[in-house]
């Protein structure tokens, strides 16, 4: 690309630097998979490129014996699914009303959505724990897990941004045809913002699936813990007693990481900088 005044050598150099960077970023993931398949942990350089005969799925069986991977995945799925459902239903409604409808309090509500992102979650964990776990008795309960994340404010702001971009005439025309607001939202607005919906779903999915601190505080029963929590407990408590602790930990890590990484690669074209940059704050 001569347009930006780079010599051929510079372009090649940039490509080399970026490729080395990408390898640094990807190597731990490669090593995660390799480590999870090794019979015995081999930390030598040669161990990073093992012979296929030395590989085994034994670590996956081992970690599954300690923490139930399926239960963990199901709990993570319910936690994430609940957040996604609430964010999509209530977030779309709020975003639509903020962008399209004219009502008193609209400005204040939008300001709140911005303000909420500045409040650090660490200040809220203690009072939220007291309220949700102690006062409402929602410890070891999906509702208690989902509640603090239920409606993602970033999503509300991105939805608003997208609904603002829908031409006003479309709404007016539909209203003249006698369509109610719910119908308008469902039939006119939503189909037009479908790409945004995918971006937001992807962005919101990452949050609860990877969240550790809150579900860790609120779940004590192993059968209720999302995979991130049960794997973390395994790392901090029992890893020392397993025959191949690293292998087992890495096998669990692969199971935890795989759904998000696969989803992300499949839908990566929706993970576009301009979409997220318009609304993202935290």
């Amino acid at each position: 690309m001569r347009a930006n005044g780079l010599s051929r050598g510079q372009t090649v150099l940039r490509g080399v630097v970026l490729t080395i960077g990408a390898i640094v970023f990807l190597f731990p993931f490669y090593y995660m998979v390799i480590g999870s398949l090794q019979k015995n942990p081999d930390t030598t350089v040669a161990g990073a490129f093992p012979e296929p005969v030395n590989l085994t799925f034994g670590n996956y069986t081992a970690i599954n014996g300690r923490i139930n991977l399926l239960t963990g995945l199901a709990n993570s799925g319910i936690f994430t699914g609940g957040v996604l459902l609430c964010t999509v239903v209530f977030g779309v409604l709020a975003g639509y009303s903020l962008a399209v409808l004219q009502w008193r309090g609209r400005g204040v509500t939008f300001a709140l959505a911005l303000l909420v992102q500045v409040i650090p979650f660490q200040l809220l964990i203690i009072p939220l724990y007291v309220l949700i776990a102690r006062d409402y008795g929602l410890a070891d309960n999906y509702l208690g897990m989902i509640l603090p994340f239920a409606i993602n404010s970033t999503a509300v702001i991105i939805f608003r941004q997208y609904f603002l971009q829908v031409p006003k005439e479309l709404f007016e025309a539909a209203r003249i045809d006698g369509a109610g607001e719910f119908r308008l939202l469902w039939r006119v607005a939503l189909p037009l913002v479908r790409p945004a919906l995918v971006t937001v779903l992807l962005l919101v999915f990452i949050g609860p699936w990877n969240e550790f601190l809150w579900p860790f505080l609120i779940t004590k029963e192993a059968s209720m813990q999302p995979l991130a929590v049960s794997l973390a407990n395994y790392i901090s408590n029992v890893a020392a007693t397993a025959a191949n602790p690293f292998g087992a930990v890495l096998a669990g890590a692969v199971v935890l990481a795989a759904p998000v990484v696969v989803l992300f690669i499949v839908f990566q074209r929706y993970f576009i900088s301009t979409d997220i940059g318009s609304g993202v704050k935290g």
Partner: protein
């Protein structure tokens, strides 16, 4: 504002003047936003007030409905925050973390985003590689870092005689820098994404005129790109500071609960230990409030010096 736009749109106002005055042109807006407003009140506003309230009491946990004495202690919790060596140490640790993590994040993410923005071949592959750590759970990648940085892990094998002793995560001088490095690597993709968005808004004409004036690559990077993405830089500074102050998972897992000897304990980790494990939520709330004030001061200073006058 809603009334003027309503009348300009030619909607007959006379029918429901009172209800229009209270709810605006479209009261359905209230209904649509009501769940979100309730959520903000219950999850953010009330706990925020509750945190401040709790920090003035010797608060403790009780079964739902049980009446227990929770004496008012005034500023005692705050006095304890400023004298507790564990808390002071944790604030020092997070400062070390921020001093390493924040500048590294800003510089690396801007440089990588600029390079990625110009790249033509393998664009998708390169971007995806840089985003992947960001989308993956910390708990999962912590497992690999433990493996890589353990005493006889791959990193030390590669370093050979240069390997630090005691090893990275059990060395009181290196534990926090290693965590800072981990978080930089983990979060960088997100900031690259923000910078990539900001770079789209830098007008191409500026680069062209810089080139006409004979500016080289480095020169146009510093006099066009850096000022052009300044709003994004302010955002990256703020977000990386807030996320850094939120640090919990990494010291909890990478260094086994802030070890060695509290050298990598973060304030949120101390909050967890004090508030939940030892049952002093009032004290933990006070630590939280001091932490937030600490973050606000840093954010204010950053804004003052990096925000510019425009």
């Amino acid at each position: 504002m809603s009334v003027t736009s309503a009348s300009s749109a030619g909607v007959p106002l006379r029918r429901h003047p009172l209800h229009l005055r209270i709810f605006g042109k479209n009261p359905l807006g209230w209904l649509f936003s009501a769940p979100y407003l309730v959520f903000v009140l219950v999850i953010f506003a009330y706990p925020l007030v509750f945190a401040v309230y709790m920090s003035f009491f010797d608060y403790f946990f009780a079964a739902p409905g049980a009446q227990v004495d929770r004496p008012f202690v005034g500023l005692a919790n705050y006095a304890q925050v400023f004298t507790d060596p564990k808390v002071i140490q944790s604030f020092g640790n997070v400062l070390v973390f921020l001093v390493i993590n924040v500048p590294l994040t800003v510089v690396l993410s801007l440089l990588l985003a600029t390079a990625l923005n110009a790249v033509v071949h393998a664009r998708t592959f390169l971007r995806v590689s840089y985003y992947v750590p960001y989308v993956t759970a910390s708990v999962a990648v912590v497992g690999v870092w433990l493996f890589l940085f353990s005493g006889d892990g791959l990193v030390n094998r590669l370093l050979g005689p240069l390997a630090p002793s005691p090893s990275w995560l059990v060395n009181s001088h290196l534990a926090m820098p290693t965590i800072a490095l981990f978080v930089t690597w983990k979060q960088l993709g997100f900031y690259i994404l923000l910078y990539l968005a900001a770079l789209q808004n830098v007008p191409t004409e500026l680069y062209e005129s810089a080139a006409t004036d004979g500016a080289g690559r480095a020169r146009s990077f510093f006099s066009v790109t850096v000022p052009g993405v300044r709003p994004a830089t302010v955002l990256v500074l703020l977000l990386s500071t807030v996320i850094g102050a939120n640090l919990f998972t990494e010291p909890y897992l990478l260094t086994g609960g802030g070890g060695p000897n509290g050298a990598s304990a973060s304030p949120v980790l101390v909050m967890y230990q004090q508030g939940i494990e030892q049952g002093h939520p009032g004290y933990a709330a006070a630590i939280g409030i001091v932490l937030v004030v600490f973050v606000l001061i840093i954010a204010f200073l950053q804004n003052r010096f990096a925000g510019g006058r425009d």
